[in-house]
């Protein structure tokens, strides 16, 4: 029975990862991060991703408050936040988010405020989606660890 649970969890995880790669939400940089995780650093991916979430939410809030300001004109300042967000998204393999950032930057380069606002909306939506999916992924991985522990209690 327990063996079945572990297999099912692994299948769930692979299905989710497949989906994320297929849809272009994640790219091979995410795989690179997974390769850096091992017994000496067993939570590396979730640690980096949680830092990413924390920073991203700050940056998204900054971008929104800049753009919502009726007297907004500081595209340079917005560009700095945007570049930071783009950089860290690329570093964790968040391909789709990075691509939306590119479109956002193009609108910003043209001082196109309406374009920036709609790009920001897409960005917020994509970010929410990614965060949910990655949380799901980490939950499955945690369950796998627990399932393995129950199955092989001696190994602890």
């Amino acid at each position: 029975m327990l063996g079945l649970a572990a297999d099912r969890l692994r299948a769930d995880m692979n299905r989710l990862l497949s989906f994320l790669f297929h849809q272009g939400i994640l790219d091979e940089q995410f795989l690179q991060l997974q390769q850096l995780q091992d017994e000496t650093s067993p939570n590396f991916v979730s640690e980096v991703v949680n830092i990413y979430f924390h920073e991203s939410e700050k940056l998204l809030r900054n971008l929104r408050s800049l753009l919502m300001d009726r007297e907004f004109s500081d595209y340079n300042k917005m560009g700095i936040h945007l570049n930071q967000f783009m950089g860290s998204s690329s570093s964790i393999g968040a391909k789709r988010i990075r691509n939306v950032c590119l479109a956002f930057r193009a609108a910003s380069d043209q001082n196109n405020r309406a374009g920036c606002l709609s790009a920001l909306e897409v960005l917020e939506h994509e970010y929410c989606f990614l965060k949910n999916k990655l949380h799901e992924l980490f939950q499955i991985q945690q369950q796998r660890v627990l399932a393995a522990g129950v199955r092989y209690p001696m190994q602890h």
């Binding site: 850096l36 950089g87 570093s91």
Partner: protein, 244 residues
Amino acid sequence: MARNGGVAWMRTTEKIDGYDLSTSDTEEVHVLAVDDSLVDRKVIERLLRISSCKVTAVDSGRRALQYLGLDEEIQKKETNGFDPFFYCDFQGLKVDLIITDYCMPGMTGYELLKKVKESSAFREIPVVIMSSENVIARIDRCLEEGAEDFIVKPVKLSDVKRIIDYTTTELREGELREGARAKRRGINKRKQREGDDDLSSSPPSTLSSSTSSSPSSSIQSATAPSSPSTLDSPTRRLKMTSSE
């Protein structure tokens, strides 16, 4: 942290009787990583540790200079009579390689590169630049200023392994040269003491000329290529410049 001060000063002393007092005596390469992004710092730290390096990660060019002991503020204080040992808290182990982001607030990676290369104490340390922008002009500018290599982000394990490989090779060659020089000094001392004619067969001049034409300097002397080709990584161009 005071003990670090002692260690930092030791690295500038000469070898005594051939006994190496340098702190980076171990196999591990010590890398100073500079990046303002916490996400990127975590990733580069992990990439370097997995490649068997010691890592010190800082979040700005200014802190990198402080760590090296090159910070102008500290130097100004030294000339005004401040005790430099007090500031040795910032200094640590000998750095074998600096890897820095290009785009940082305050001091850019390019400015950090220039400061390192302008310093007599640290200009030999290879500096690698990382950037998310694959801009040829930027790459060329960094290489011309003496950067060892240029990595386009996101950084992968293969990038880091390649850099550590040739840094390790450079360090080993450096140690071999040092070993040869120390031997030579030893031979000369014995000659002076014993006046032994047998040892005159290996005169110091031959050894010094062979070590000065070492091939390891060729990486530094690579000039910017004229035309960008369709390669996976801009850093490959470094290896190809000898044909141009």
